[in-house]
Amino acid sequence: DGLSSPYFGDSPLKRRAPSFGYKPRETVFSPT
């Protein structure tokens, strides 16, 4: 679902964004 990162795996706290009324954001990797 784009919410877990290849480095950190799942981030449970990230999934709580809906408690504040918005969708959790995907981790986008900027080209380094």
């Binding site: 981030s11 449970p12 900027s30």
Partner: protein, 112 residues
């Protein structure tokens, strides 16, 4: 440099996730979730500037979305005063964080 990468680091390093930060005429606000598998608290942290007292921190716990089971566990983990809005000076912010981290780290046997 991606904002989400920095937020991922802080979630896994310090057990805190900032979902969003925004400013209004009262001050600067952060929508925050803190905790681990034992317990999680959602709250707003506000930073209100005042000339005489320096920056005041406002803590507003968000409980409406929580299930009664979650609240039962939180009530065994954190002191009752942390279920209400609190305000304290900026210099006490690290104590607030570690107090919340210690409380939410407590293992709670589910009674029933």
């Amino acid at each position: 440099e991606s904002m989400e990468l920095v937020k991922d680091l802080f979630e896994h390093l310090c057990g805190v996730r900032v979902h969003k930060c925004y400013e209004d005429d009262a001050g600067l606000w952060f929508d925050t979730s803190q905790g681990s598998r034992n317990g999680i608290m959602d709250y707003k942290l506000g930073f209100v500037r005042s000339d005489e007292a320096g920056t005041e921190v406002v803590y507003i716990p968000l409980l409406k979305q929580r299930s009664s089971d979650e609240l039962k566990i939180l009530q065994q983990q954190i002191p009752s005063y942390m279920f209400d809005t609190l305000s304290f000076p900026l210099k006490s912010l690290p104590q607030f964080y570690s107090k919340m981290a210690r409380c939410l780290g407590k293992e709670v046997r589910d009674r029933d």
